[in-house]
Symmetry: C2
Subunit: 400 residues, 2 copies
């Protein structure tokens, strides 16, 4: 698909010069445009991503050959030109979204889940299940910078790692599923990584999030009720247990039905959180970390995401309700609309200032774009089994 850019770039030229120019432009770095309105969406079944833009809501290119993209996510380089795509098979792929080319790729483990980019954009970290640990790569070259095995117990056991996020101060924070630990990895000195370990945080942390200011790291516990909270401004206070009823009685649910914690929506003092296994969105007061309310919703919530101004929260659901979206008004705590985009609504991404939202509708093979004020569908794009959608404004955010 990269060639389509080249052809577009030389469409005003004629005759003799043509073949020369094709050669020349194939050495030119890429198509020229601002990258602020661009994005990438994952096509999970075809090992491909689509490069899109939000000013005209169009698809720009497709890049293939990215391996197993089930549950894939990505982060952006600080210049918003490169996407680092984390595949399920341990693949870490660097995609140039201007040229629509893979510029680097490494199969860095046998089984991985998610990653993060350091505050300064120089380091990309990946959390691995097998072998369990975190690997840190040079963001330019994808050369290995640090290999952090998630050893625990007497040291011969290695834990699956999950819930990896970046935090201010060149830190990465993650949890150890098997060990029940939270680790804070400080990469300020690349040649001497420092690790701070928080033990006995609870059984089987299955996912985690960091608040948008990078202060609070919160892990969900599969093996018991409640959540584990670490205040990164006050790490000496240790990990506290919050929301003692979170997940109560629901621990027997299979993991694949657990909600996505990175979808916590923060609006003012309130966080909106998917309940585990219940048809409810929980409202949490972030000053006290107490439950402040419950909102009845259509099904088991998966992602609960705030519009950038915090006025609305959009919710999608697990099977059999994954054809539905509900929108909650964060002031009245009431549901203001319900949409039926189609079967398999897997992910949502708001445009940076919130005027539109993109939805992946996997089973319909399309992405839909809605106006968040009128709730009217403004456009749709064909896509092959789309899942995650990621806009470049994430490059500038902590913890995304």
């Amino acid at each position: 698909m990269a060639d389509s850019f080249v052809v577009a770039g030389v469409s005003t030229m004629k005759g003799l010069a043509y073949s020369f120019v094709i050669l020349l432009l194939s050495h030119a770095p890429a198509h020229s445009r601002g990258t602020g309105d661009m994005g990438v969406l994952i096509e999970r079944a075809s090992s491909s991503v689509q490069i899109v833009e939000t000013s005209n809501n169009s698809s720009l290119a497709r890049v293939s050959g990215l391996g197993d993209l089930s549950h894939a996510s990505l982060v952006y380089s600080r210049d918003a030109r490169f996407a680092y795509v984390f595949g399920r098979d341990g693949g870490l792929t660097k995609v140039d979204i201007l040229s629509a080319e893979i510029t680097a790729r490494t199969l860095q483990s046998g089984n991985s889940i998610g990653g993060a980019i350091s505050q300064d954009g120089r380091l990309v970290a990946v959390s691995n299940y097998e072998p369990g640990g975190v690997k840190v790569f040079n963001a330019d070259t994808l050369e290995l910078v640090a290999d952090i095995p998630a050893s625990y117990g007497s040291g011969d056991l290695r834990s699956k790692v999950i819930g990896l996020v970046d935090a201010p101060g060149q830190k990465f924070v993650f949890t150890l599923w098997d060990a029940g630990e939270i680790w804070v990895l400080d990469m300020s000195d690349q040649s001497a990584p420092k690790i701070e370990k928080f033990r006995d945080i609870g059984r089987n942390p299955y996912d985690a999030l960091i608040t948008p200011d990078g202060r609070y790291y919160i892990a969900g516990l599969f093996g018991e009720d409640g959540m584990a909270l670490l205040d990164l401004w006050n790490p000496s206070a240790g990990v506290k247990r919050i929301l003692p009823n979170y997940g109560k009685g629901e621990q027997k649910l299979p993991v694949y039905k657990m909600p996505h914690l990175e979808g916590w929506a923060v609006a003012g003092d309130l966080a909106f959180v998917p309940a585990v296994g219940r048809h409810e969105v929980l409202v949490i007061n972030m000053r006290s970390w107490q439950e402040a309310g419950r909102i009845k919703v259509h099904g088991q919530p998966i992602f609960v995401m705030a519009r950038p101004d915090g006025r609305q929260v959009w919710v999608n659901f697990a099977l059999p309700d994954n054809d539905t979206i509900q929108v909650i008004d964060t002031q009245s705590l009431s549901i203001v609309t319900q949409l039926k985009p189609g079967k398999g609504v897997l992910h949502m991404e708001f445009e940076p200032r919130g005027e539109e939202v993109w939805l992946s509708v996997r089973d319909e093979d399309r992405v839909e774009i809605y106006d968040t004020q009128t709730f009217k569908r403004k456009a749709f794009l064909p896509a092959t089994k789309p899942s995650g959608i990621f806009f470049t404004s994430r490059a500038h955010r902590i913890g995304l």
Copy 2:
């Protein structure tokens, strides 16, 4: 300076093809790179701007011919490719930061101050002193879309307009200095702008800000004490007076010493606000809008700006203390360091994830870049009487 990009772009080419290619590339749209790490700094005395980037902390180009840039500011297009520069002389200039060229320019009034870009990025609004009002332009072409005279009283008077910001829902909010009013302009329907007027908000609003979520619009009053607060989620509640002691006894100060309200720093529930005429930073609880404390500082604060994670607040000062910066820890409310970058520290801009901050040091003709963890100077760039610094991540923020 644009030509330097072309030369760089063809540096691998040789011989016969050279002159042809120069011709070709002069028609090429621009240099190709991600725009996420770019920025523009105002050189107020020379009618020029410098285009910079934060990955290597370097200057990329200079663009001249922008008219009177005293007190100039700018906003970015949604693709982060174009800067709309608001000059003091009524000039509105659209600069392509990839090609380093002026792509459109209009002298749209006799005397203007500041502007904003709509949520969807299609409209650019400018607030004018003379003739008093707001003009709204097509962001692509700079063609006039709407002319909103700031008429008041019996209708034959026109007020200076100030404190213009964007808000969600294609709105612009601004204050009328002479009339003591706040207007909310809704441009959802470009052919039928709607205006909601809030009268008797207080005498001589001199500047205003909107909170980062786009909810609260707050105007400072030159003619009396306190500030005027409009909750845009609840406009029917009208404008309320808050902080009754703000500016108390200081109204006689000349306007040019009034602090910049757009520099309000928000960290968690707290806003950090420059006191008027006093060597203090005020701490405001944003839930109650009550004063929560005062921090003694080195001089009269001008800009009080939060690092993106909210952990630090950086403060610069009016003469004779404008050679100094102080940094406040927002948890302990204590001053953690003091820097002396040089005479005339006019503005500060944090890199999007906060690891570094850029300072304009006007009288030293340079911009300095500091590590916000170590407070060490990492780099500096020569600049001609630099003032405002603006990074492209602003493209994705409400109210900037």
